[in-house]
């Protein structure tokens, strides 16, 4: 018998059931204090390739994905200002996960690799945020060569001179606010300095025993210009304005960052007023002391790796955000540089309401140096 309504009942069951399925899975690790559940990785044989000191990082090849590693991200943060002198914090990230419990099949639906992407734009009053997921083989997410492209659905980072280099590039994405407004960002990224490799030639150690490590490089000298178009929920009106500012790009890949010992991390990317850049990172581990590292990058691109003895990074003030006490004010000291910085979040609630929620937002710097940057807090 012909059905008068297409199978909306099943469709909605699917929605409800998917929700419940995911809900059930989220409840599974309620007692687990680690950042990601490692259940599929219980067998060490299933771990992806390990980051190692002998890896030679080469470009442009290493701009592309490294599927043999468990997790990877291409991470862009930017401190922007509009024509009206309003400040905006921008974050665009593409994540890749490898899941060994998923069988790679011949089907375009069967892949052991998954992409997740976040797009976030903060003004002082508003937050636009969207999240996407995609399967690797389906064709709606991934990275391409000729020219270098990172994409997920209609979000795209694309080299705009047709080469396989990371920059210069255009970046387009959209996001929605809780009030229902939509923002579309069309941005141009140009490089005003070299790429830098953290740690030893890109091999970045993140724990005292060296168990946690990654391959990690950055492009901290990006200049961003572009256009924001904001559409109101109810009206057809679109308001648009130009923005510009400094951006910081990270590309990191590892199989050793996320395990049962990892409680979370705190990360900062700082643009100092004197033109230097600073990356500071605190790894919080279970039953171990916090491990603080960093990279000091002078304006000519020379990188100095900061060991735990070289840098002090301490939370000063905890503020209640989204039901959690978050360290939104920090004290950073680098004795060798005579540097004593106070780093404070520009806006209290810069929470990303994602499937894996975390704090990511603009900070201001004061002290021996002024500046601006981004703060990321995970695992709280």
């Amino acid at each position: 018998m012909a059905k008068l309504i297409p199978k909306s009942v099943i469709i909605l069951v699917v929605l409800v059931s998917a929700y419940l399925l995911f809900n059930t899975m989220r409840q599974n690790s309620s007692e687990d204090s680690s950042l990601f559940s490692r259940d599929p990785f219980i067998d060490a044989k299933q771990l992806g390739k390990k980051a190692g000191p002998n890896y030679q990082m080469l470009f442009p090849n290493d701009h592309f994905e490294h599927t043999e590693f468990d997790i990877e991200w291409w991470y862009l943060t930017a401190n922007l200002v509009s024509e009206q002198n309003e400040i905006y914090g921008l974050q665009w990230t593409l994540f890749r996960f490898r899941n060994p419990s998923t069988e790679e099949t011949n089907s375009e639906w069967g892949s052991d690799q998954l992409y997740m992407a976040h797009a976030s734009i903060h003004s002082i009053d508003e937050h636009f945020f969207s999240e996407k997921y995609a399967r690797r083989k389906l064709g709606n997410a991934g990275n391409n060569a000729d020219p270098f492209t990172l994409f997920i659905d209609n979000w795209e980072w694309k080299n705009n001179i047709g080469t396989n280099n990371l920059l210069p590039a255009s970046l387009t994405f959209d996001a929605v606010s809780e009030s229902g407004k939509k923002i579309r960002a069309s941005l141009n990224l140009s490089n005003n300095g070299p790429l830098v490799k953290h740690g030893e030639d890109g091999f970045s150690v993140k724990s005292p025993n060296g168990k946690h490590a990654s391959h990690y490089y950055s492009a901290p000298f990006i200049h961003m210009t572009g256009l924001f178009e904001i559409q109101d929920k109810t009206s057809e009106d679109v308001s648009s304005f130009r923005v510009l500012g400094d951006a910081w790009y990270d590309h990191e890949w590892t199989s050793q960052l996320l395990d049962n010992d990892t409680l979370g991390w705190d990360w900062m990317s700082l643009h100092l007023d004197n033109g230097d850049k600073l990356m500071a990172f605190r790894m919080r581990l279970d039953n171990q002391n916090d491990f603080v590292t960093g990279s000091y990058i002078s304006k000519d691109g020379a990188l100095t790796t900061l060991s735990p003895n070289d840098i002090s990074l301490l939370p000063i003030t905890f503020t209640r955000v989204n039901g959690k006490d978050m360290p939104l004010a920090w004290q950073l000291s680098i004795e060798s540089k005579n540097m004593d910085l106070s780093i404070e979040s520009v806006k209290t609630d810069q929470w990303n309401h994602a499937s894996i929620p975390y704090y990511e937002g603009m900070v201001s710097i004061s002290g021996t140096q002024g500046g601006k940057g981004f703060l990321e807090l995970t695992g709280y």
Partner: protein, 830 residues
């Protein structure tokens, strides 16, 4: 309190009546609970869908035609273009086989969802958990998991490796693990990620792309999406408010109607049983009155008693109904889904809520049921005079005769003029009422005639026959109910049996070949015949549009064998018919085509030529039977299809069993796997068809039996009541020295006479009803019909069942009465 004590002590004497009442109440509450449970499940499924439908999934993207389905590339293209919140769905219905048999009567709905796309959408729509408790999600767990309802999981069993899809050994579920979800919308469904779905159905395509949006997409959003849509896809709204509202009303109406029907039926049987009980107590009610116990006390206690019995029966009824519903659940589910077009899940029913519902309705029913007997009791208690029934048979007969005439006229008018199904159904109801009225008008007269026929040298029989005339006036309601049930039963049974016989005979004729082959593979017919000796005759299918409707255009061979196989509903000269058909000027159409479009033999129609697509004139040379086909169909000779690239998936096979073996070998040699074709022996095909037929009418048959049993039971209860009124007559017989057994046998004869006359009346009306169902209702609803075949054996079976049930119920009181000593019989006073 005195009266209560008296009542309790009277139970020893009123065991049978109380048992009858309790049994009636249990039947009533069981039936009512079962219907409410089924209603609740269906309603939950329906309201769940409506509740979630509005905020989130407002539109979907589907293919304009089945020939150009949605591809993965389309999905990717739309996502890359920026269509927001798009989720791909793939769906397929198949049977799940275990040990060579399907585990459910209806197909399982397999649904694949792009969970990866869906997940962040759910998060953003705030359907997820509060962030205070947020923990990361391991998306890897999505794969290899299927969501099913707990009850369906019980059907699947613990070992999924035993299950195959449609019996295909290469399509197993062993890679899946089951997660249960007691969501009422879930019926016989398996919901999984698309990765697993395409493992099961590698050649399947996407069914639809959902647009998930909160709030609903605005027109500007839809216009933007429309710009991106490939040519072969379209956007469709899922919120078809008018349709939804109509369906909701219709669905609810169906459910309410079912519940009301059950309530009325139950009320009826309880009424008769309550009547029985009250009548059995009439004697000591009068004694109680004489002792000074007020009527009000008597009535209140009766009311409390029946309500207490009602409560006990409710508890028993609910327990029994749950088991009953679980037992019949798969069939009922399939029937409801077929009737409503909605997926019906298993549903959850709270015991307390069901208890409250059933007891409330039972209480109302009990009060209504006992009201009539109590009113009658009140009248009888207010007088010491003997109650003499004053049956003015003549006046009643005239009244009912007039009523019969009016109802018959209305029925005839409706049958002649009705253009809608509803009016025809009303005509059926009026027919039955007319029959009822005719029976009431004629009952006394017929019984009088029968009494007159009995020879005078059989005085006892004659007296008893005359006594039955008096009795028939006191059992109108029960006799009417019995008549209605018997008429419906005869009508439905004749209809179903006619259909069964017609279908069987039609299939036996049309399935003229030795075997039938089903395969989508390209087969070289000449090569097959040369190498194996097997003659394959393809049926070339196509669909055309005729008068804005989709019509099946099939080929038909013109060999003598197939000419003989054809079964015509309407045809002129058979030789001329085939001549015109063979030369390409004639077309044969099925009844559905002819009746729905208003065509007759000899009419000209213009159809596209199957080879050239040129619109060509054809004359309708034959109208054929095509039972159960929902589509209109036209047949043209296979010769016209020579150059046409139509679809061929069915072949008639002329072969011996040894040639069939060669055919299997041949297929293997050209790389056609055994999974790519199915070969059915004609006897097996016929058996399968008839088995499906019987399963389809399982519920109908069940309901028929139930209604007949219920009506017979009620009639029996009414008869037991009459046994009290009959005691003066029996007293007279006994005082003449007639033995007690003989006396009771004569009483039994009276009552069975009522039953048999009722059945005799029901027979012609049942046949008429069958005629209406076949030639009017079936034709109106489906545009096809079949010959009515009156099977005497069938009717006799109905007679037997009815009389058997009546006998079973009345035999015990009769036996008890037959054991009464003569002194009790002859001293009985009203």
């Amino acid at each position: 309190m005195v009266f209560v004590k008296l009542l309790i002590s009277s139970y020893k004497q009123a065991k049978f009546s109380l048992l009858m009442l309790l049994l009636s109440l249990v039947i009533a509450t069981t039936g009512l609970s079962a219907v409410l449970i089924i209603n609740n499940s269906a309603k939950q499924s329906y309201s769940s869908s409506n509740e979630f439908l509005i905020p989130n999934v407002s539109h979907q993207i589907i293919a304009k035609s089945e020939d150009t389905p949605i591809t993965t590339q389309d999905y990717v293209f739309l996502k890359r273009s920026g269509v927001p919140n798009l989720v791909a769905i793939a769906q397929q219905s198949s049977y799940l086989f275990k040990d060579g048999q399907s585990i459910t009567p209806s197909k399982i709905e397999f649904t694949g969802v792009d969970n990866v796309s869906l997940f962040p959408i759910l998060i953003s729509l705030n359907l997820g958990e509060e962030e205070e408790n947020s923990q990361p999600t391991n998306i890897g767990l999505l794969n290899g998991t299927a969501i099913v309802h707990q009850k369906f999981a019980n059907l699947l069993g613990s070992d999924l490796s035993e299950l195959t899809i449609d019996g295909q050994s290469n399509q197993r579920l062993d890679f899946l693990s089951i997660t249960t979800l007691n969501e009422p919308t879930l019926g016989n469904d398996m919901v999984m990620d698309l990765q697993d779905y395409f493992k099961l159905f590698p050649n399947a395509s996407l069914s639809r792309l959902l647009l998930v949006s909160k709030p609903e997409l605005k027109q500007r959003d839809l216009d933007l999406i429309q710009q991106w849509l490939p040519e072969h896809l379209k956007i469709e709204s899922l919120n078809n408010d008018v349709n939804n509202q109509e369906l909701t009303n219709s669905f609810h109406l169906n459910l309410v109607a079912m519940a009301l029907l059950m309530f009325v039926v139950c009320l009826f049987i309880v009424l008769n049983s309550a009547n029985l009980l009250i009548n059995s107590r009439m004697g000591w009610f009068k004694v109680c009155r004489q002792l000074g116990i007020p009527r009000k006390t008597i009535f209140n206690v009766q009311l409390i008693e029946i309500l207490t019995l009602g409560f006990v029966a409710t508890l028993i009824g609910i327990v029994v109904s749950v088991q009953l519903v679980n037992f019949v659940s798969p069939t009922v589910q399939a029937t409801l889904e077929g009737l409503s077009g909605k997926e019906v899940g298993f549903g959850n029913t709270s015991f307390i809520s069901l208890l409250v519902q059933v007891f409330s309705i039972t209480a109302i029913g009990c009060i209504l049921a006992i009201a009539a007997p109590l009113i009658k009791t009140n009248q009888q208690l207010s007088t010491t005079k003997a109650y003499l029934s004053n049956i003015k048979l003549g006046k009643q007969a005239l009244y009912f005769s007039c009523l019969t005439a009016v109802l018959a006229s209305i029925c005839a008018l409706l049958l002649i003029t009705a253009s809608s199904l509803m009016l025809l159904l009303i005509a059926s109801a009026v027919l039955i009422l007319a029959g009822c009225s005719a029976m009431l008008a004629s009952y006394p007269l017929i019984l009088k005639r029968l009494a007159a026929i009995v020879p005078s040298n059989m005085p006892l029989l004659k007296v008893s026959s005359q006594q039955s005339v008096l009795l028939c006036g006191k059992t109108k309601i029960a006799c009417c109910a019995f008549f209605i049930a018997a008429t419906s039963n005869i009508g439905m049974n004749l209809m179903v049996d006619s259909f069964r016989l017609a279908t069987q005979s039609w299939l036996e004729s049309r399935l003229a070949s030795d075997y039938y082959l089903y395969s989508d593979e390209q087969i070289n017919l000449v090569d097959v015949e040369n190498k194996t000796g097997v003659v394959l005759t393809p049926r070339i299918d196509s669909k055309i549009i005729y008068k804005d409707q989709s019509i099946q255009l099939f080929s038909y061979p013109t060999t003598q064998q197939f000419k003989d196989a054809m079964v015509f509903s309407d045809v002129d000269n058979i030789n001329t018919t085939w001549e015109k058909f063979e030369n390409g000027s004639g077309v044969m159409v099925n009844q559905q085509f002819a009746y729905s479009l208003g065509y007759q033999l000899g009419d000209n129609i213009r159809l596209p030529h199957p080879s050239t697509d040129t619109i060509t004139n054809f004359t309708i040379v034959g109208i054929i039977y095509d039972y159960g086909n929902p589509f209109k169909q036209a047949l043209l000779p296979i010769g016209l299809f020579d150059t046409f690239n139509g679809d061929t998936s069915i072949y008639a096979v002329e072969a011996s069993s040894s040639q069939i073996t060669k055919l299997d070998t041949y297929f293997a040699s050209i790389d056609i796997d055994t999974d790519d074709y199915r070969l059915y022996k004609v006897e097996d095909l016929l058996a399968l068809s008839m088995q499906t037929f019987d399963q389809t009418f399982l519920i109908t048959d069940g309901l028929n039996v139930v209604t007949l049993l219920v009506a017979s039971f009620s009639l029996a209860c009414a008869m037991i009541v009459l046994m009290h009124d009959d005691r003066p007559h029996n007293m007279l017989i006994r005082s003449f020295g007639i033995g007690r057994i003989k006396t009771q046998l004569l009483s039994l004869y009276q009552y069975l006479l009522l039953c048999i006359v009722g059945l005799l009346f029901a027979t012609p009306f049942g046949i008429l009803l069958s005629w209406v169902l076949i030639y009017k209702i079936n034709l109106q609803a489906f545009n096809w019909t079949y010959p009515l075949i009156i099977d005497g054996i069938n009717i006799l079976m109905i007679y037997s069942v009815s009389i058997f049930v009546v006998l079973c119920v009345v035999i015990l009181p009769f036996i008890r009465a037959s054991k009464r000593p003569i002194i009790e019989d002859i001293r009985w006073l009203n």
